[in-house]
Structure formats: C-alpha cells, structure tokens
Amino acid sequence: MKETTIPVKTQSKQVPDTRDSSKTLRPPVDIFESPEGLTVIADLPGVHKEDVQIQVENDILTIKAVAKSQLTIDPTYREFELYPYFRQFQLSDKTDQEKIKAEMKNGVLIIHLPKKESAKPKQISVTVS
C-alpha cells in the first residue's frame, strides 16, 4: 500500500512586520497637516541619505535607518550611543501612497504624504441670485 501525504493548506497571514528584534531607537517626529497632505519630520542624526529605508506596506509607513558614528576610535567618555532607528505609523486611506516623497538634510528626514484628490477640501462658490 502506498503512503500518501495530503498537503495541508496553510494560509499565510498578510501581516507586515511591525516589530524588530534588534535594539533600535525611536526617533522623535513632528507631524503636521495641511490641505495638501501630511508632513512627517524625523530627527535621524548620523544617518546618511543612502542608509534610510522608507516602506509602505498594508497602509503602514516604516522608517528604518542606520546611523554611523564619525569617530574611528572608541570614545572614553560617552553620553549617547547610535543604534538603528525604527518607527512605524499607520496611514489613513486618504493618503495617496503613489505620491509619497522624502528628503534628507543635516540628519533630518522629511516625508511628504499627499492626500488623495478625493480627500482634499473643495471650495464651492455660492452664487447669490
């Protein structure tokens, strides 16, 4: 008699990785809104432009960055340590994910999250007859 194994169908859940196992820093952010969209500003000192990763998956914005010290020797007096940065935000469905833009300057990351056209406020002119 031949032995057969029936493969069990397992459904992999589409849950994005919202945790990171390694030690990370949570960068402080400013988030403010304008009629055009949201702006996220994050302090990421020690991060070069190429070492920033910004992902959007399942409406979750992930900021990952690796900071590098400029010192080549170990400090004798230490007040801070640089670890990778990691922080995530839930995006609303009003965000136009195709048009997200980011820029990096002097260790500060600026992300522009524009709103969808349908979510923007519309001015309706009222004519008085």
Binding site: I31, P45, G46, V47, Q70, P75, T76, F80, G107, V108
Partner: protein, 154 residues
C-alpha cells in the same frame, strides 16, 4: 595641594559627584530603547547637545549629536581646555499649532561648554558638521603631549 578651604571648589566637587550619581542611575533604569529620547532639545533645560569624547595620541575628538541645526548658526570656540558649542535648531515654520498631530522634536538655541582633560591648540581646531553630527578635532597643545626622555647609561 589646597591652601585654603575653598567653598567654590567644594561646591564644584559636590556638583560633579551628584552628576555622577544621576548618570549611573539613569543608565540603569532608562536603558530601554523607548526611553532614549535623549537627543530631544529645547523641551526642557537638559544637556544639549550630547557628546562623545575620544582621545588618541595627538588629538581629542568631540562628537556632538545635533540634528537639523542651521549650519550658519553653529559657533565653536576654544579657550585653553574648554570648548563652547552654540547654535540654533530652527522650529518648523508657517504651521499653525492646531495643524500638529505630533510635536516631539524640540527647537531653539543652545550653548554647551565642555571641559577637556587636556589643553588644546585653539588655532588648529577643525569642526565638521555632517548628517546631523558635529565632529570637532582638537589637536593637543605641545605642552600636553607626552615627552620621551632619553636615559643615558654610564
């Protein structure tokens, strides 16, 4: 060698000891990543910018964590063995307070004076601001460098 009881020096010593106690305490208790909001300036009067100091044979290196500083506002001055770092982190402009969802980054002017373990040559100090980190390279003064003394054997 102390000739008199010097109250100023006693106070200075006490302050240093207190600082040391609090530093040890905060390292134990707040050694959790989410507590490391340490480079947040301006919100309260805390030490800013944070620095790491390293030393080799010829130089002292000071690395200061200061993201988003207007580079033209940075001022570094050196006197004997003290370094003074001053500058300004500009606030986000033209945004109404009610438009903010989160406001965690501080802003404002800062000054910090750091005492170095040795005297440095003020004329040859180099300062470089890159990716939000200020790196100072301070060559040691000739008088502070170790001297090799030749021993003649008769």
């Amino acid at each position: 060698m102390r000739r008199w009881w010097d109250p100023i020096q006693e106070l200075e010593q006490l302050k240093r000891e207190m600082d040391e106690i609090f530093r040890a305490f905060s390292e134990d208790v707040f050694d959790i990543p989410s507590f490391r909001f340490s480079f947040l300036p301006g919100v309260s009067a805390r030490t800013y910018p944070l620095v790491n100091i390293a030393e080799d044979k010829d130089n002292v290196y000071v690395e200061a964590l200061a993201p988003g500083i207007a580079p033209e506002s940075l001022e570094v001055s050196v006197l004997n063995n003290t370094v003074r770092i001053a500058g300004e982190k500009p606030a986000v402009k033209d945004v109404k307070p009610e438009a903010f969802h989160r406001s965690e980054r501080g802003a404002g002017k800062f000054i910090r004076t750091i005492s170095l373990p040795v005297e440095v040559d003020a004329d040859k100090v180099k300062a470089e601001y890159k990716n939000g980190i200020l790196l100072l390279t301070l060559p040691k003064a000739e008088s502070a460098k170790p001297k090799q003394i030749a021993i003649s054997v008769n």
